[in-house]
Each structure stands twice: as structure tokens, then as C-alpha cells.
Symmetry: C2
Subunit: 682 residues, 2 copies
């Protein structure tokens, strides 16, 4: 265990010195290395393997381009982690001390059910990574990268034997390139992040009301009139698919239909249920445009289109969306209403069902298995169709009982600014899923984090996806009983730092955005404020301010992280204090934090007026200061066992708890706890 104890001495970052004792204690209680996702089985060994310039990796036995590329990528990330050059080394040749053994090839197109297991044996003298096929090797290499740590003896990996396999075969991340176009580099660096945490499905939401993002050669007006020039060429798509394959990731394209289709209808109004003309949407929300399910021409168009896309995306699955039809264009079209009557369709759901059944046949005709959101499920939906549940565990259970395979996304909506812990504790087999029979449970394939992009651009997307998605990745990979939230947060911080070595910008981009808000530099008081606010949760944001598709996302709400780590840690302190379990040191830490926030407003206010982007923060900064002062008073009252005088504190805090400048002050709930505890002393 020696090598792990050294972690207790690990440096602590900016402003976290206040919680040094707490954090170090937590680290020392860990019995295992900082892995995420945690492996299925792990046995610690004796001693450690030194990672230095002598590390030499050899692929023994079966080899292929994916293994060779994986090895090269591994050496490159290991170089970034350690600074030790491992590629192009000119050390005298010696026996490899890191052996990779894959038993054989993987499928030429990665399959849903492919074996992803691996065995990683690290001893003092060498490393052996073995797996049935390259997928397991890729996963094992990521595990090794996470094992490496800096110690007084240099970089080492502790001796350990890991026998690992995934709990669920479908561990996805969806990125919405429809609403905000995401540059190819933003996609590829997130594929690197996915590989780092063993996710294996990139679900690419490629069309929506606000944009159609793939070049179609058969129907060039799709991108021609539906994208403002912001689309992926077929060459780029091919490169992304290959990039993903090299990382053990399938790419499932989604073309959302019959609704969310304004961008299609801009170039091909003959698909529409309404009169048009159509232009790509410049606002968010559930919009009316819908494809006309009653015309034969619709299916002829879609047959050709799906055929073109089926060739571009080799994966066996093809996502046709199917969510959120408001039916207004159908209701308003007498011809469609007549069609429904003639065919005995009692409502729009029946019409959509008719459409979905037609599309399913087209998809199957192109040798793909259809996937769709909850809405596509009907009693007669073919059993091979995969349902992605955005509605929740109940809908998931319905699908599984009906005999369809299903994924959970409800609970994994990372655009909604929920804490990692909330996502982490959502289990595809929790809730109603828990009551399924073993046969039905086997139909639950896994889940997908969804990065919807109304309020996200390529600039800040990484900070919305990471590190929280690593917690979801653990839920989907690791055994069901891995549910310790404190351990998760502890490891998440380490993983977050390391994800930077993969080129992700979740830490660097918020910093640069703060500099922009500061007019070229980010002064310390602005950083102090930024560390304790976060964007509001759920769907409130669109109600707070008018957002169009081209509204600049350059305010503090866009720059700060979706979960305030500082506020979370402060809340832990406060929980201990009100429970009467805090040490004197923890009392002092709480006081220091509150004093920092109380005094911050005075330093920050003079700076806010100079920046058009910061001016809206005047009340936010003021209220943080006011709340902190109240918190200090409450701490005093608690320490002196003195009932507080009646005052307006709770009203002040209630006001401060409300969003301002599209930001929530995450310190306020903790202060409210303190004030309540002080008041309860009566």
C-alpha cells in the first residue's frame, strides 16, 4: 500500500489549501488506485513498476493497425502525463517490459456485443496486458495510464492485477451538432475523452430545426439551405468514424424525424406538412415543422437519404430520433387530417406510428437496425428496434417488458447542470428497471449522456461534458454496487486533471473565457466569484433571458462549470458543523471561506463597470457578500450557543438564492443551513 499512501502528500490546488486536512484524509482512506471507471476485479500486489525512459511496449502475437495506433497514442499520453519521451527514443534496444497480447482480431465494424474485457498485470518488473481482442487492449491501456502516479521515487504504477469487463455493452455520449455546430476538433477531442473512460458509443445528433450538419450528395440542399455553411463533409465524417474506431468507439448517427426537421424543409419543402417557406430556425424549443407522413414521396426521399447515410456510417444501428412532435402542422393540414380519417388513425401518435413503421422498413432495407427515442415505441414496433429513453425509468421498463432493447438517457442529461452525484446514482436498472425479470433486464443495453447544445458551443462544450461524464461512464462500466459518492468525487478530481492530457479543454476554456470577460485578464476577485456560481439547473435558462441561436454565449454563466466544486466542499463543511461533528479546524476553514466571499465584493465591484460582459454581475457579487456576512454571523451564534436576534437574514438569503445574471449562487443554500441551525438553538 505504500505507493498509495504517497497520494496523501499529493499537492493540493488553488484555494483548496483550506481543506487540506479533509482531502488528505479522504485520499488516505482509499485502498486502491485512482481509477475511473473502477474495474470489475482488482487485486493489489507488492511494490511498484517504475515508469521511466526504459519503458518499452511490444505487441506480441496478433497485431493490427488499431493496436499499433493504440500503442502510439498510449505512449503519447504517457509522455504528456510524465514528460518522459517514449516515442523515438534512442536508448539501446532492450527487452520490452510492457507486453500487449490480443488473442485475435475484432470485428471489421465494431459490434454492440463485442468482448471488451482485458486483464492487466502490473508487477515490479513488467506489465502484461492481455485481451481477447483489441477493444480490451485499448481499455487496459487507459487503466494503466490512470495507474501512473508521481512519487518520491518518480513516476510509478503500483503492482496490481486487474480483471475487468463492462457491466453494460452500450456506454454512450450524444453530442448535438444540430443546434450549435461543433467543429471536428471539438468532436475528436471528446472521442479521446470517451476512450479515456471506456465509453464506446458516440451518438451524433446531426440534424435539428436549427441545422442540418452532414453533406448529402444525393440531396445537397439539405446542407445547402439547412446549415449556413456549417456542416461536416462526407470526408470529415469518414475521418471521425475512423478516429472513433481506432478508439473502440462506435458512431451512431441520428437524423431526427418526423419533427425537429425545419432545416430539412428549408431545402426540400416538399417534405413538409405545412405550407412554408421554411428557413432554419433561429430560436430554441419544440417547433411546429414536421415531415408529412402521408405522402409516398416522403418515403422515396427518405429511402434514398437513408441509403446514402447508411453507407457513410458503417455502424449497425441508425437513429431516427422521433421525439417531441407537437403535431401542429399535421392538425393544420386538411389533406393530412383526411388521410388520418381514411386510415382510421385516432390521433397524431397514430400518425407518427405509421411514419415510424414506414421508416423502420426503409432502415431495415438498408441493413441497419433502427433506434429511436421513447416516442417511436408502439405495440407493433419490431423487436430489434432499440429505444433510447429520455422520458425515464418507467418508459425504459415498458420497452424492456415489451421485448425491445433499451438505453437510459433520462438522468444523464448533462446539459441540465446537475451535480455529478445525481447522474452517478441513476442506474439503468434502478427504479422501475429493478423490477424487471432477468430476461427483461438483459434488454437494458446501458445508457447515454446527452450533450444538447442550445447553450453550448465548441468553446465551452468540454466543460459541460467533463468531468461529470466520467461519473456516468463509471455507472455504465463498473459493477452495480460501486456507488460511493465521496469516492467518486475524489477520483473525479484526479480524472479531470488528467483528461487535460488528452487535449480536452474543460479546464483551459473556462479560464480563457474568464479572461475575455475581464477584458484580457481574469482578476482574482472575479475568479473567486466564478468558483461559487453555476448556471441554473434544468430548463430554466431559456425563461430567464431571450436566447437566439446566434446569441453570444460569452457571459459568466457560459464560462463557469456546471457544478461548483468549491460550493460543494463548503457545503460538506457546513453539514459537519450543523451536525455538531466539525473540528475546530473545520470551523476555522468555514470562517475563512465566508470572510473571503464577504470581502470579495469590495474588490470586484470597481472592476465590473469596465466590462460590458461583467456589468450584469454587480448584484451577484453583492449578494454573495451579503450572504457570506450572514453566514459569519450564524457561525458566531452557533459557536456561542446564542439564539440569533430576529432579522431579515432569511429574506435576504431567499432573494440571493434566486438566479441573477443567469447564475445561481451555490453558497447560499449552505448559509441557509447555518442560519436555520442557529435559529434552532432557541
Amino acid at each position: 500500500m505504500k505507493s498509495h499512501h504517497s497520494r496523501c502528500l499529493t499537492f493540493l490546488g488553488f484555494l483548496s489549501f483550506l481543506i487540506l486536512a479533509q482531502s488528505a484524509t479522504m485520499r488516505c482512506q482509499e485502498a486502491s488506485p485512482t481509477l475511473m471507471p473502477l474495474p470489475a476485479h482488482m487485486v493489489m500486489g507488492q511494490g511498484q513498476f517504475i515508469v521511466d525512459g526504459n519503458l518499452t511496449v511490444e505487441i506480441q502475437g496478433y497485431s493490427d493497425a488499431r493496436l499499433v495506433a493504440g500503442k502510439k497514442r498510449f505512449l503519447n499520453v504517457l509522455y504528456r502525463e510524465t514528460g518522459i519521451p517514449l516515442e523515438g527514443a534512442i536508448a539501446p534496444p532492450h527487452q520490452a517490459n510492457f507486453l500487449i497480447k490480443a488473442a485475435g482480431a475484432g470485428s471489421s465494424v465494431q459490434q454492440l456485443s463485442e468482448n471488451e474485457s482485458y486483464r492487466l498485470e502490473v508487477s515490479k518488473t513488467g506489465v502484461l496486458l492481455s485481451a481477447p481482442n483489441p477493444l480490451g487492449v485499448l481499455h487496459g491501456l487507459q487503466t494503466f495510464l490512470q495507474l501512473v502516479e508521481l512519487t518520491p521515487q518518480g513516476f510509478v504504477a503500483p503492482a496490481v492485477t486487474v480483471d475487468d469487463e463492462a457491466r453494460f455493452p452500450w456506454r454512450g455520449l450524444m453530442i448535438d451538432s444540430g443546434r450549435h455546430f461543433m467543429p471536428v476538433t471539438a468532436i475528436t477531442r471528446n472521442l479521446d475523452g470517451m476512450e479515456a473512460v471506456k465509453m464506446n458509443v458516440f451518438h451524433w445528433h446531426l440534424s435539428d430545426d436549427q441545422g442540418f450538419r452532414v453533406e448529402s450528395k444525393v440531396f445537397p440542399l439539405l446542407q445547402g439551405k439547412g446549415s449556413n455553411g456549417q456542416f461536416y463533409t462526407q470526408k470529415q465524417i469518414g475521418e471521425v468514424v475512423q478516429y472513433a474506431r481506432e478508439r473502440g468507439i462506435r458512431v451512431v448517427p441520428e437524423f431526427d424525424m418526423p419533427c425537429h426537421t425545419t432545416s430539412w424543409q428549408a431545402g426540400y419543402p416538399q417534405l413538409a406538412s405545412g405550407k412554408g417557406p421554411y428557413a432554419i430556425a433561429d430560436r430554441w424549443g419544440v417547433l411546429d415543422p414536421a415531415i408529412d407522413p402521408t405522402r409516398e414521396g416522403t418515403y422515396q426521399f427518405l429511402d434514398k437519404f437513408i441509403g446514402e447515410m447508411a453507407a457513410l456510417f458503417p455502424d449497425a444501428y441508425f437513429h431516427i430520433g422521433g421525439d417531441e412532435c407537437d403535431g401542429k402542422e399535421w392538425d393544420a393540414n386538411p389533406r393530412i387530417k383526411a388521410f388520418m380519417r381514411a386510415h382510421g388513425m385516432k390521433d397524431n401518435a397514430a400518425l407518427q406510428s405509421y411514419f415510424t413503421a414506414g421508416v423502420q422498413k426503409l432502415v431495415a432495407g438498408h441493413h441497419k437496425i433502427m433506434e429511436g427515442w421513447d416516442e417511436v415505441l408502439q405495440p407493433d414496433t419490431p423487436r430489434d428496434v432499440v429505444i433510447q429513453s429520455w422520458r425515464g425509468e418507467k418508459a425504459l421498463a415498458v420497452a424492456a417488458r415489451q421485448g425491445n432493447r433499451v438505453l437510459l438517457s433520462n438522468g444523464y442529461y448533462i446539459d441540465l447542470n446537475q451535480p455529478a452525484a445525481e447522474h452517478y446514482l441513476v442506474d439503468p436498472l434502478g427504479g422501475d428497471g429493478g423490477s424487471l425479470t432477468p430476461e427483461q433486464k438483459a434488454r437494458v443495453l446501458g445508457g447515454e449522456a446527452t450533450m444538447w447544445s442550445e447553450y453550448v458551443t465548441g468553446e465551452n462544450m468540454d466543460s459541460r461534458i467533463w468531468p461529470r461524464t466520467a461519473a456516468i461512464a463509471e455507472r455504465l462500466w463498473s459493477p452495480e454496487n460501486v456507488r460511493d459518492v465521496d469516492s467518486m468525487y475524489d477520483r473525479l478530481a484526479v480524472v479531470s486533471q488528467r483528461l487535460q492530457y488528452f487535449g480536452l479543454e474543460h479546464e483551459s476554456s473556462p479560464r480563457l473565457m474568464l479572461e475575455r470577460i475581464g477584458g484580457g485578464e481574469a482578476p482574482e476577485p472575479l475568479k473567486v466569484l466564478a468558483a461559487v456560481v453555476q448556471p441554473p439547473r434544468g430548463y430554466m435558462r431559456g425563461e430567464m433571458r431571450e436566447y437566439h441561436t446566434f446569441t453570444p454565449l460569452n457571459r459568466l454563466t457560459d464560462a463557469v462549470l456546471p457544478e461548483s466544486e468549491t460550493a460543494r466542499k463548503f457545503n460538506s463543511l457546513v453539514q459537519l458543523i450543523v451536525a455538531g461533528k466539525a473540528t475546530e479546524k473545520q470551523w476555522q476553514e468555514a470562517r475563512e471561506w465566508l470572510a473571503l466571499w464577504r470581502d470579495n465584493d469590495r474588490k470586484l465591484q470597481p472592476l465590473l463597470a469596465a466590462s460590458d460582459l461583467a456589468a450584469e454581475l454587480v448584484p451577484v457579487s453583492h449578494d454573495l457578500s451579503a450572504a457570506a456576512a450572514i453566514g459569519l454571523k450564524a457561525l458566531d451564534d452557533l459557536e456561542n450557543h446564542r439564539a440569533p436576534n430576529a432579522d431579515k437574514s432569511m429574506e435576504t438569503l431567499e432573494a440571493a438564492a434566486k438566479p441573477q445574471a443567469v447564475l445561481l449562487d451555490m453558497v447560499v443554500p449552505s448559509v441557509q443551513l447555518l442560519v436555520k441551525a442557529a435559529g434552532a438553538q432557541n
Copy 2:
């Protein structure tokens, strides 16, 4: 001037709050926008142009792919600066308010003497950028990007008319890919940085003893045995050349010969003057291997090789190196000695001259103009050969007097960790250059910053090049009388922040390297130490520690910036104090800095033991603390007009001034000043 006064309120960065008053004052004294390089002519207008989502750029009249790409890149950087989406906007069409007018095309291969001038007119209502050809447009776009600033009214560019042209036609940056291979992305992002500051020559040092970095199809063992697999493919070379062309940058390749050629000789020992066998060098310094100038086969080989490379690099100039021949292999080879005697060559310089003359004919035969370091200049060197002077202004003047064109690099060696001010004040026409006749002066083409890479990798290269190279760029572009060092430093800080928007990693990479040294996080006390140390200047580094080509460059000396901004500012304070010109506030600031450093060691020491990379910092941290304590005492003595007691302060400081852990403590010289001033009170 209103828009510039708003800069006085610009936020100040971390730890610089101590110098708030000073810095703000300096900013307010500026009468012009923060441009670098400063333009030849600039007249401020009234009001400002608002940069918002309505900005629409139109190329009127002549257009070509380079202009279109330049416009796209401009909009992208402007987006990064402001967060305002400007590409793919769906605002209703309106008249363009930013017009680009190029009178005509540029050369199909960019020429040395091409016109680079432009005129940029910014008014309240619009922007007009006009130029004789696309090169001027590219420069003008960069000027506009620098004009944009954040104000209470949003992002604006002040009304101004800029008439601008370059002082020197050759403004280069050399990158040494030979000693440490630099990934293509490291090259391309530095080309973006060059464009930002109007540099126009990328001199690519592509071969050296430690590596041959270009794929040769004619002689594949050059990279095959000379690179350990770390070389650029011809396809990559072509992409870099195109990338540079789009940015108004010529690419001049250098293949260093007849010495620095170990890597050639590894694959082609028939070129060698010695017996071999050869393997690429794993150490630095001036090594013995040299090409054999006496064999006909050498020239046959070089003719084919130069022919292949001349086709790959379209620029009219071809650099053959020619520096630092120690001649030992020639001396040791009886056949070569006999040849020299037979041809009446009195020394190795004569032999090299013979070689150079032969190579010059080959280069000319492939329709290129030869360039070489000082050593290639001989009395009979053809007049079109361009000399790059690493030896200094005297050598430069010799070449110009002899009738050759010449570049200055001495003084611009950015690998030597000199302050920006030192580079800035070196003028190609300064020193001996000042005594040249107008005709001779016209032969001085400009200069080149040289990024030699013994102690630099792709990871930390940006932080060595930027921002200091921007000061050299200004020297080479702006009028000779632009020499105000304070103004330069003031603008350099702004430029440095903005260069991040071009993807440069000079600020992010040091941060990440500090995190690595910290074992995953960079604690505040480590940052405090890092901010005041720098690598030793000049060539001392190789004497302090044994470095091989694959020695990890992952220590603090590799992570910190080559010029400590904090120490520089502290020194300014101390200069004021010892001159009796400091305000009470400045005295207080100096005290606060010293107290911070004095108390830092106590916080940092417990953390250093946990990291193999940080352990060497124990004495560095201790000595900073000791020096700061001495400084505080000296401040007290000065304030109280009290002669200090005799003590060991100066000895302590002398010891602390010496490099430790390959780092210089840059606070110590300022403390020495204080102690001397206190002592002088007797």
C-alpha cells in the same frame, strides 16, 4: 481618446493587484491602441466602431483563395476574442460594414520583396481595409484584431486610420526541428502566432546531428536511419508550406552542411569524412562528424538531394547552414589532408569554402538562391548568397560591405532566456550596421529569431517563443525610432494574452507542466516560487547538469517562463525605492511581495518531498525565503534611515544568486540593490 481611457479600468491579473496603481497609470499615458508591432503611421479618429453580430465582411473587387481563407480565419479569431458568433450567422442580410479591397494578386510563390503595405480605416460606421495585394490585407486584418477591446459599450475598435508598411522585408522565426522533433501542430500554431505579429519567414532547421526530419524519397535512409521515426512526410511538408502561404509566410528550409550532419551519415556513411559507423547523436554540442568535401560522390548525392528538396519547398531561398565545423574529422583523414595540400588549401576554412562554393552551384542549378550562416561567406562568395549572421553585428557589416545581403540573428537567440527588452533593443542596423552606407544598409534584409531546441520540446516551445518574439517582430516591422521599453512591455502583456486566441500554448502549457510537477495539481506556493525563477541565461545550462537528447524536460526550469514578469515588476519598484522616488504605496507593495516570498517556503517545503520532480526545489525555495527576509530588513533600514548592522546578508545573497536546480532566483538581484542602498546610508 475615450475608448483608450477605458483601458485604465482593464482588469489586472493574478498577483498583479499589488501594482495596480502603477500599471493603470502607465496604461493611461498611452495615446494609442495596444498594437504590436506598432504601425508606421497611425492617426486616431473620433468615436468607435462597434463589433457585434452585425459585423459583415465583404471582399470587394479582386479575390482569391488566400483572401477568402484569411477572412474566414479572421472571423474565427474575432469570435474567439469576443465570443460573438460571426461565421454561419443567420442574421438578415445587410450591407457589409467591413470591406476588404486588394488591388490585385500576389506572387504565386511569395517573394522576398513583395509589397506588404496596407491601409486600414476604422470609423464609427465601418471599416475599409485596402492593400496592393493579399499580403497587406492579411497584415491589416491582424491590426484590426488587435484594435478590438472590451468596453462598457461592448467590444469596439477605436476610429483610426493606419497606413502601414514593414521596415525590413525579412522578418523570420527559425524553429529547430532537428534536435527535438516538433510535431506538425506545434509548427502550425506558431505560424499562426507569426501571422499575428506580421512575421513573414519561417526558417525551418530540418537536420542536425540529432535528427534528420524530412522524408526523402531519393535517399530514404536519411530519415530511415536518421530520425528514429520522427520526421515530416513530404505530404506534411506540403501542408505546412501551404499553411504558411495562406498566412503570408515564406518557408525557407535549412539542411545544415557540411557539419551538424551525424544524422545524414547514419544512413549514408559514404558522405562522411570519418570511418563511422554513425548513429544519430544522443548528446548536444559541437560534434565532429562532417561531410567529406573532397569526393565527387558527395556533390552527386547533394545535387539529387537538393533537387528533391528544391521541388518540395517552393521558396526562392535555400539555406545550407554551414555553421560550427570543428574540422576534427577532416584533420584525422589523411586522404582529405592530401586533397587539401594538392589544392593549396591552407586550412579547414578553405576546405569549407571549397565545399560551399560547390554546393552553391548545385543550389543555383536548381534555381534557388543560397543562404547560409556567417561561415559560408568568403571573398568570392556570389553576391546573391544571403548571409545569416549568428556571430553579430560586426559579421553582418562585413557581409553587407562585401556586397552580400544579410540577416541578423545574433541578439535574437530566444533559446538563451534573455529578457524581451534585450532582444527588442537589438537593431539590424544598430552597432556596426549603423556605419554602413545607404547602399550597404539596403542589403540588410532584416532578422530572425532562432528557437534552437536543445532544451525545448513541442510541449514548452511556445512559452520560449512567445510573447518575447513579438518584441522582435516589432523591431523588424516598426520604424527604427520605436524603442520605448516600458511601452513594449505594456503592450507585450496584452499581446501575450491575445496570442492564446490563436491556439498558442505559451500560457496554458507552463500551467499544465506545473500541475505535473505537483503530482496532479499546482499548489499556490509552487506557483509563487515558479513566478520568480527562470532558467539560466546563455549556454550555462548544459554545464549544470548532464543532458542527453532524451532527458525528460519536465522540471521546473522547463516549465517556467524565460523571463520572470513578477521579478521584473518587483525590480521596477526597487529601482524607484533606491532612487528615493517611490510612493508610500510602492514601499508597501514591495513589502507585501517580500513578505509573500519570505512566508512561502514554510508552505511549500512539506509538498516538495512528495514529488520526484520537485524535490530539487528544496534549496531554491529556502533561498527565496531567506533573500526575501533580508530584503524586508533592508527596507526597514532604508525607511528608518538606519545603517544596517554588519551581517552575512551579502554572502547569503551571493549564494542565492547562483543557479540551483537549473534555476535562477530573479528576486535576488533586486534584494542586493536594497541591501547596497541600505549600506550606503552610512
